[in-house]
Symmetry: C2
Subunit: 332 residues, 2 copies
């Protein structure tokens, strides 16, 4: 039985995306520090996707979709629903292809995020969460202009783009002499985790996918445990809001179920402490949701196996206030 | 007249150091952001040496020296005078070669720096600035144990090691299609600047070395102007203290004089603002002295030529308090 054949995302799609991303996305470094090794009790390797264009891995998936469209379709432009990292990734990928991007955001989104997305050349369309239906607005615009919708995670093209991170992890781990390790990935809808899992399966079978989430919003961990899609009870209430989604995706979950070990979850304070460690020891900026995998490596060592652990820092788009709070409470 | 022949540092020494550093030092990324381009009015490329091992370029020079010693000499160990980035670079390079490192520090050095240097395996010897002569203490220990002294900058082996940064800049700039640009380097004693200048001269002659310093401590800029070594009037009083030295080095200055364009200088506030920009737009942590080159690119645009500018962020070892201050005052 070839279960891999059931997934609509193949390693060939990931490799093709990597070719299209070459010289456009950054090959982010795999960082380490003896001080982090000391805390974790094993060697810790950090894939710093916060250093990716627009400050998160989302640029990869967006670029993969835009670059893969046929020219006539691409020229009409793309559309996305997001007020966060996905918005910026889509805006920048579209701009670099010189095609229009429409980003639908709630009217109460932080002004800075709206401004940043506009500054990246996107047309930002605001809607009222209480009275308007964003899907209807988006569908009407997409139909009228022939825009291509780029979903944040549950799309094989997006998952293939995020999976290029996994190809790099496989190569960088091999360079560092690491062939057996848990690879802990910050997990929202599962696009990054699923893509990395598929890449590792093909190129570094000794590296095992693990997911990390905020405590209380661990829909993926619970879904992995029960074997079926479980929902989060709430969607707000964690500082790691950027990676909170209602439930694992219909496309991503079967991939995670097949490839991921038990899910990990950390508290908000542990995420903030990991941000302070990344500041002090790695000199990179992690956002709370982007720090949950590092937090799991540092503070859930008993749930991890092996002499090495690899983690993603999936993004670094954090307000100064939140970062100051992390340094104040946990900085050296 | 071959003036290059007068320098005791050659491009062959830099290339040999690069071979020894391969897979031991990090090839740090060359980062960029359209938001920084907007401020500077030209494309800005940032060589993020804050992501180097121990958080600064100093690891390169230290590794270059330790790895180049004959095995019998190396086995006896190395010694350095420093309470900052040089200390950590030497300690880590020695530890990875499994040889002893002695670091001489003033007794009133920050406790965290002493602890970090010890944690990297070095023997820290403290002296009293008021009553003891650090050179005498160091000389006695070096003689007794046969330790090799690693100076912070005025040593051809160290300059060659720092120059490997320049080889990477030359290659990364070519990859990005940049062949003409000013390359602004954070400058203390001139080891990094001199090494980068020599590497660019050989490998990317369209890239011109510039130095950046804190205002009021611009001994290099003044020395470049007068054509002879000028001293700083004071050695304290800037937040960029990590890159303040009494005067350019006897070995480094002739290199700078031959290769560098006019020196640039920025205020402490501009350095802090550049740190906040590096946080928001690049997701890296810069220390104040490590941010002066970026500050010059952003806030001294009228003194820079061309459509592109390349800068170093030379280090990221900054206390949380100082970083919080930068974000509070200049963060988005």
């Amino acid at each position: 039985m070839n279960t891999a054949a059931q997934t609509p995302v193949t390693i060939d799609m990931i490799r093709a995306a990597a070719k299209r991303l070459d010289r456009h996305a950054r090959r982010t470094p795999l960082l380490s520090s003896p001080f982090l090794d000391e805390i974790a009790g094993r060697r810790v390797w950090v894939k710093a996707e916060c250093l990716q264009h627009t400050g998160s891995f989302k640029f990869r998936g967006a670029w993969a979709v835009v670059s893969g469209l046929d020219p006539a379709t691409r020229a009409k432009g793309v559309i996305a629903f997001s007020s966060g990292n996905h918005a910026q990734g889509v805006a920048m990928a579209a701009r670099q292809h010189q095609v229009p991007a429409v980003i639908i955001m709630p009217r109460d989104a932080p002004r800075l995020k709206i401004e940043n997305t506009r500054a990246l050349g996107a047309e930002v369309v605001l809607y009222d969460r209480a009275t308007e239906d964003r899907d209807a607005i988006g569908a009407a615009m997409a139909a009228e202009r022939g825009l291509t919708l780029i979903k944040p995670y549950d799309d094989p093209r997006v998952i293939a783009g995020q999976g290029t991170t996994g190809l790099e992890i496989a190569a960088q781990a091999a360079s560092a002499g690491v062939t057996q390790a848990d690879v802990i990935v910050c997990c929202g809808g599962g696009g990054l985790s699923g893509g990395i899992g598929l890449a590792l399966e093909a190129e570094a079978p000794g590296l095992r996918l693990r997911t990390a989430e905020p405590q209380g919003f661990d829909d993926v961990a619970r879904s992995l445990r029960s074997g079926r899609i479980e929902r989060n009870a709430a969607l707000t209430g964690s500082i790691c809001d950027a990676i909170i989604t209602p439930q694992p995706g219909d496309i991503t979950f079967p991939i995670l179920k097949r490839l991921a070990g038990p899910g990990l979850a950390v508290s908000d304070d542990e995420a903030l402490e990991a941000m302070a460690q990344a500041f002090t020891r790695l000199k990179v900026v992690a956002e709370p949701g982007g720090a949950v995998a590092l937090a799991a490596a540092l503070y859930r060592a008993d749930q991890i196996e092996g002499t090495d652990v690899i983690v993603t820092i999936s993004g670094g788009n954090v307000d100064a206030d939140v970062f100051i709070d992390a340094l104040r409470r946990f900085g050296a």
